[in-house]
Assembly symmetry: C2
């Protein structure tokens, strides 16, 4: 029986409670401020639609800001993932205000983007200042970075358990980093608590009816999961293709200007703001009303365009939108309730695109309750398996390939 040095464990525990509490308070407060600012930006845009006409100029501002001050941090989430895999440099604190401002500008002027990337980068940037201030060793640095990511995710969505597991799961595909499990949970829980204490709420979604599981429903869930996985894959592929097309514009600040012109043309022609910004109203609607086939596709295209042109924000809320509206549309064919399919898609497309199936199952349970848990789990794991190895985070390492097994089955290839 291996001996434990309980006093060491205890003091180490106290140290991490201190770090976690401090980081949780900072990141939770930053998320609260961010969510409030995002709310204001969304409302202002919806009440002053002419502002969308300035999208190219907004893009130029973001482009110039990153060109002059943000070259080191322009990789965003991928920079965090790379530092977790092979530590190089402390993440500059400027990552936090840059991504904060750029995201608010993107949303204010009508880009289609999310918010988790912003929260995660704010969390990561603040966390890495601990490395400098408290002179953390590499192993501790890894833990504090994970805590920052968890805290950002947790507080921006109001889902502490999903946030904690997301931080542990995101940087290596097919692997979960147990060594940070307690600090990650503590930081995520504190950050969420602090964000709520500031009076910032989160949208509530609910699945009206969950049928009993039986064999037909099981098959439908798996089929839906495959479709969600392919949607996730399409999003990642389109993102990467558009990025390389925009990459041909050699002067980076010009990219969001061009992207902005394309976006306002599309928004003007479609004559609706349904598909820009976060899209929370449409997500909510999709839980009760069957969406047409094009809702998810338009959002998928506009978000890929917005982000690969160099506007800022996250991918996750658009992925919720894509998944929920795709699921809602699938209720046309699949004999499952529209709300359940929307909820399954909400987390499953994200599961496939971020390669974080367990975080997504937790998120589904935190958002929609336990009763839909088995449907959520089937959809998230299937989508994870059918989305390929290149998700939205290009820097993810592949710890356990999803299809290692297949390689040996030559008869199946």
């Amino acid at each position: 029986i291996i001996q434990i040095d309980f006093s060491a464990l205890f003091w180490n525990g106290l140290k991490w409670i201190f770090f976690s509490a401090l980081l949780g308070i900072i990141v939770g407060s930053a998320s609260a401020l961010f969510l409030e600012a995002l709310n204001w930006a969304t409302q202002y845009r919806e009440q002053h639609l002419w502002i969308i006409g300035l999208l190219p100029f907004a893009g130029l501002t973001i482009g110039l800001a990153y060109h002059y001050w943000g070259k080191e941090v322009v990789k965003g989430n991928n920079l965090l993932i790379e530092e977790l895999q092979s530590p190089k440099n402390i993440i500059p604190l400027i990552m936090a205000p840059l991504i904060f401002a750029a995201t608010i500008i993107t949303h204010l002027f009508g880009g289609s983007a999310g918010r988790e990337g912003t929260a995660v980068q704010i969390g990561g940037a603040f966390a890495d200042q601990f490395t400098k201030i408290f002179k953390l060793e590499p192993s501790d640095r890894k833990i504090i970075l994970i805590c920052g990511i968890s805290a950002g995710f947790s507080s921006v969505f109001g889902t502490p358990l999903a946030g904690a597991v997301f931080g542990l799961e995101v940087f290596v595909i097919g692997s979960l980093f147990y060594s940070a499990i307690l600090p990650s949970f503590i930081t995520a829980i504190i950050a969420d608590y602090i964000c709520k204490t500031w009076g910032v709420g989160h949208t509530h979604y609910s699945i009206a009816f969950v049928p009993d599981m039986h064999i037909l429903n099981l098959f439908c869930s798996l089929l839906a999961g495959i479709i969600f996985g392919l949607a996730a894959r399409s999003f990642s592929v389109l993102n990467h293709s558009l990025s390389s097309i925009f990459g041909k514009v050699k002067y980076p600040p010009l990219r969001p200007v061009i992207g902005g012109f394309i976006l306002i043309t599309i928004i003007y022609l479609s004559a609706t703001t349904r598909y820009i910004g976060l899209g929370i109203p449409v997500i909510s609607e999709s839980f009760t009303t069957q969406e047409p086939y094009y809702t998810f596709a338009i959002k998928l295209f506009l978000t890929s365009l917005t982000l690969s042109a160099g506007f800022k924000g996250g991918e996750v809320t658009p992925l919720f939108f894509i998944g929920a509206t795709l699921g809602s549309f699938l209720s046309l064919f699949l004999p499952l309730p529209v709300g359940l399919l929307a909820g399954m898609g909400f987390v499953a497309v994200f599961s496939g695109a971020a390669n974080t199936p367990l975080a997504c199952i937790f998120m589904g349970m935190e958002l929609f309750g336990v009763s839909s848990g088995i449907y959520i789990a089937l959809a998230c794991t299937t989508a994870y398996l059918f989305s390929g190895h290149t998700g939205i985070y290009r820097s993810q390492a592949i710890g356990n390939p999803k299809y290692r097994l297949l390689k040996k089955h030559s008869f199946l290839r």
Copy 2:
């Protein structure tokens, strides 16, 4: 971007749906039969208490059965874990009927034991017959064994998500086996569905009141988690010590006879059947009534004695008992509601003893709902960290040591 062979993935998926469905039906049905038999045995014992006097003879029967027919399978869960780590031989089907009968006998005559070990071994034994019949390759064998374990756990407790994650998490400490994620979930969900379809229900527990999280509650949760972790550690240590004491009796069938005599002496002197069998009534009671300090300790001792003497059954329901009654007792000191502490202990002691924190968080959410999720998560991860590396399954490999980080902090040691 890595290419995916979707048709291979699809056909492989269909193959696993077939295997999972078949295995889920078999294991779910076996669990239903087992739970019914266990119910009958418990009721019969409670109505005919004289039968406890025959415990030494029951022990002799079990001892002889394993001595003559079960030498290969006497390691039980550890055999499954070893085969998952380094495959040697197909698990003999006799494991299933032997553990089934021995567990029923143990409960009928008044031993203190659980049921997960039995369900998991039935699941694993049936699963490995697939290896033989369908000539599975080593990588597929690993998946089907995990599916068997998941199915057994899922159906015996009525918690499909916890069952699925338990199978993925149990054989290596600090690691989760993503390669089996979809088959494991499908099998666990089908097994649970089949068991419920046979009309077999599970006990419902409920946490009456969950307070809002704040800093005091956070500290109390962590403190409770540490205590749950130490209780888990005590259980494992006592189990291993008593096992080595009984190991000095050279003729194995004699061990449960001696253990049986000690058990009936204790049961006779204590003049109660509260601490034997599964102990479900006491578990339920602990959610509403504060238990005295000795409840958990007596159960801890009686279960260690029962199992290390060679009686059969699982450890998990006794661990639920120990955790729930310990948590219930802690409400004397900690300002958290009795039901919440009982629920936290229920899963957290198990988390520490089995080294499966994520499965336990899922279990907590499936049993008690989402609202207690953050408390459950804090307790389960803390207990996991404070329980040491030698849990109830001695064969678990250590994938990621829990305190690797500490080694480098000489100032903390």
